[in-house]
Amino acid sequence: MKSFTYERASTLSAAVQSAQRPGAKFIAGGTNLLDLMKLQIEAPIHLIDISRLGMNTIERTSDGGLRIGAMVRNSDLAQDAQVRTNYGVLSRALLSGASGQLRNLATTGGNLLQRTRCSYFYDLSRPCNKRAPGSGCSALGGFNRMNAILGVGGSSEARNVCIAVHPSDMAVAMRALDAKVETISAKGLTRVIPIADFHRLTGTTPNIETVLLPGEIITAVTLPAPIRGQQIYRKIRDRASYAFALVSVAAIVDVVGGKIRSASIACGGVAHKPWRIAAAEAVLVGADVSADVTTTRNVFTASANALLAGARGYGHNDFKISLLRNALVATLAEASSRKAA
């Protein structure tokens, strides 16, 4: 690990001021940043400890939603009674991620900012456009079982191509829930970023993963008032526990009188951000799910195909296309058939 100076921020404004220093970085739970610092993939020269700034409560908002402080630990968020009751998909997503020990350290803000686990991003002996833009992508012709099938764009020869995926489960559930990310900048300006716009696709700058500006800090994540419907988080991975998703599906499906009234579907493990496509949900709205199994299944498959529009594999991860299609159909079938809670 490279040396750094350490500062325990006592106020939010002091923290964002210090973040103007070159090479400065915030640290909260540290579970991802310290890992990367040990490998010198991250080498901040000034660390600003924001873990004692409060921002660790979960509160009702005036519109009936929830405001989750950026420092709320993943385990506390998963266990919160309101989250378990009204936002089960979020609780489920959190509990499917990492381990008990890591969830006790990891924070809400940090989870959103965690970096990809692409093995070539971690392998300093190999080129990686995310770690060192312009050096090339080793995953393209390499072992890319865990990599993206959606949202890459351009050809394999495009400048700074990157097929990394965002590793978070929590963010996928938040995407299905239409969460918003609240931030504050060094100048004290606050803004609210819909989670759909928070993470970026790789484009030609795969090293830039979110729309946060230098020194801007996440203060909270807000959820809208509870959304009606069955909430499911289905995660498919190589081990039964403690592994990143190959694909995952966060679904909120409301069925009334045998017909789908609303559907919100986001997917993880397949792109550089949680993947959600309006057309895939439009196919579902109004669909009669009390009809025979074949008809219903055809609707779900059509929805899955709409979500997978433009999907492509890179060899080892070709299977993810059919895996995600099957996961979507199975999740939609489960969500539509479950009795209302």
Partner: protein, 245 residues
């Protein structure tokens, strides 16, 4: 191995090169120590930090091409009920503090990247990977390690259960398994659900074997003593208030 120590058979250097691998490592270590001492001297004299030298690493992701002098800071930790004050390099993890600074080697270093759970300790009563926590960030917290679980010669019930059920083979992961399971039972008693909990609305946790396995998935055992580890934890869970089994 550095090139200068590679014997070159063609010009007969093989006979003349007398630096062994071990000596080379020693020399490198000495050179490192000399540099470190120089840094300390500079800092002690109150001088500004030495001008950053250009980085020799061609890694473009590094934000600033400079190696800074290490910063040392005072840290106070309450470890196993005893207050410890020390001055540490800011880079020091809790794991290295325990093992290297305090000689508490019961906490094991496995992967050092949060993947194996061998370093699991309790921070303010909650289980965490000591390898992924900076000691300076924990100033003022209470840490419980495997050494702090027993009361004198009286083993913690979980330690005794691991012995009774032979919940280990080589034993390297065992301190982490035991600290993790103690933290896990506290979580279960507080009603924390898990990935395999069927109903999120249940206030009381029923610790089936599947629940124990899921909740302990952050602790790997390369000897695969898992069945006996589950047996040990199950026994203690039966005597844990607030937990059903």
């Amino acid at each position: 191995m550095p090139d200068e120590f590679t014997p070159d058979a063609e010009d007969g250097l093989r006979d003349r090169v007398t630096v062994t691998r071990r000596e080379a490592i020693k020399l490198t270590a000495l050179a490192g120590a000399a540099i470190a001492t120089a840094h300390l001297g500079t800092l002690a004299a109150g001088s500004p930090r030495p001008a950053p030298a250009p980085s020799r690493t061609a890694n473009a992701s590094m934000p600033v091409a400079a190696d800074m002098a290490p910063q040392r800071m005072a840290v106070a930790l309450q470890i196993n009920g005893k207050a410890h004050s020390m001055t540490l390099d800011t880079r020091t993890t809790l794991l290295d503090t325990l093992r290297e600074s305090l000689g508490l080697t019961g906490t094991k270093k496995g992967c050092d990247h949060g993947q194996c759970g061998a370093c699991t300790v309790l921070i303010d009563g909650r289980r965490a990977n000591a390898c992924l926590a900076l000691a300076v960030m924990l100033d003022g917290t209470e840490i419980t390690t495997i050494e702090g679980l027993s009361k004198g010669d009286q083993l913690h019930p979980m330690q005794q259960a691991f012995l009774t059920h032979d919940g280990f083979q080589c034993g390297y992961c065992t301190p982490g398994q035991i600290c993790s399971s103690v933290g896990m039972l506290s979580e279960a008693a507080a009603g924390m659900p898990s990935h395999v909990t069927s109903d999120l609305s249940l206030k009381q946790v029923t610790l089936s074997d599947d629940e124990i396995r899921e909740r302990m998935s952050g602790n790997l055992c390369r000897c695969s003593a898992y069945p006996n580890i589950v047996n040990a934890i199950r026994e203690v869970s039966k005597a844990t208030p607030g937990v059903q089994s």
